[in-house]
């Protein structure tokens, strides 16, 4: 299963980025191979519509779940219709490493 996490940077020590559409990086974590892939958010500085564009980007990676600090209303409804699970985690000091450890409970 593939899970996307919004990240403030491109290392495992980076913290979770609270913004879904305008986060710095997306981390794609594969729960089977344990592989992580950091990809800069292509829509970070988009003038408008960063949210829907980001949904499309993340969905194109075939993820089943997304972990972020918050999802906007429009984003929620789009992800809902795509049947991608949203996990809202509000502790902003959590690192990507810690999130991955939680996933491997």
């Amino acid at each position: 299963m593939k899970i996307a996490i919004t990240s403030t940077g491109n290392t495992l020590e980076s913290t979770i980025d609270p913004r879904f559409g305008r986060c710095a990086y997306y981390v794609f974590y594969d729960t089977e191979t344990k592989a992580t892939e950091f990809i800069p958010n292509p829509n970070k500085d988009a003038e408008g519509g960063a949210g829907p564009a980001s949904v499309q980007f993340v969905a194109s990676k075939n993820v089943n779940k997304i972990i972020s600090g918050e999802f906007g209303m429009k984003i929620k409804s789009l992800l809902d219709s795509l049947k991608i699970q949203m996990i809202v985690h509000k502790e902003q000091d959590k690192t990507i490493q810690e999130i991955i450890e939680m996933l491997n409970h």
Binding site: K74, D80, I84, Q85, H89
Partner: protein
């Protein structure tokens, strides 16, 4: 292949008026209060009771699930009944975003999550695996501003390419970004 993003609701024909006023109150005072009908409530009523579509067809036309459509329709009727009985004004504006999934909160890591698979029940937290989770009363319909609500898709009559309808620009003037044919409103 990237999945196609579905627009949440389509309001094909915005109402021709902004609302209704009651008259001849027996109480001698005209109520200043009003009941607000959302665009999608107006639309649900129009599709079912004016155009004569059944709920199945109407929900498909509005791109919402059947249960969501039923909620919108029931809410429209309740509001109109209230206005009729209590002699209130009806305004028609704004709208809500509806979600079909239920939300939960984990007792251990405090995260919130939804259940996108309606037919499967959720037993543990998708993040930490804890079994103590609680259904969370996430208001699954939320006010949203008008502009976003009125998003519609326009479909190219030639190549089928869809793009967002531009408010204030008649669709017939839109030109397809792909093949440069003149657009038409997507009525499907």
């Amino acid at each position: 292949m990237s999945p196609r993003i579905k627009m949440l609701r389509k309001v094909l024909n915005p109402p021709q008026i902004n609302g209704f006023n009651p008259y001849g109150s027996k109480l001698g005072i005209e109520s200043r209060e009003s009941v607000n009908l959302f665009y999608e409530e107006y639309e649900a009523l129009r599709l079912c009771d004016y155009d004569g579509y059944n709920h199945q067809e109407a929900s498909a036309m509005m791109s919402v699930s059947r249960p969501t459509f039923t909620r919108i329709y029931a809410s429209a009727l309740r509001k109109i009944a209230k206005a009729f009985v209590e002699g209130k004004q009806i305004t028609i504006k704004g709208g809500k975003v509806y979600f079909d999934s239920d939300w939960y909160q984990c007792h251990q890591c405090r995260c919130y999550f939804n259940n996108p698979e309606k037919d499967k029940s959720i037993e543990s937290c998708p993040l930490c695996g804890n079994h103590q989770i609680e259904k969370f009363e996430y208001d699954n319909s939320t006010d949203e501003n008008e502009d976003e609500l009125m998003t519609e898709l326009c479909k190219c009559p030639n190549c089928g390419f869809e793009q967002e309808h531009q408010a204030k620009t008649p669709c017939k003037q839109l030109v397809c970004k792909k093949c440069h044919t003149t657009f038409q409103r997507n009525e499907s």
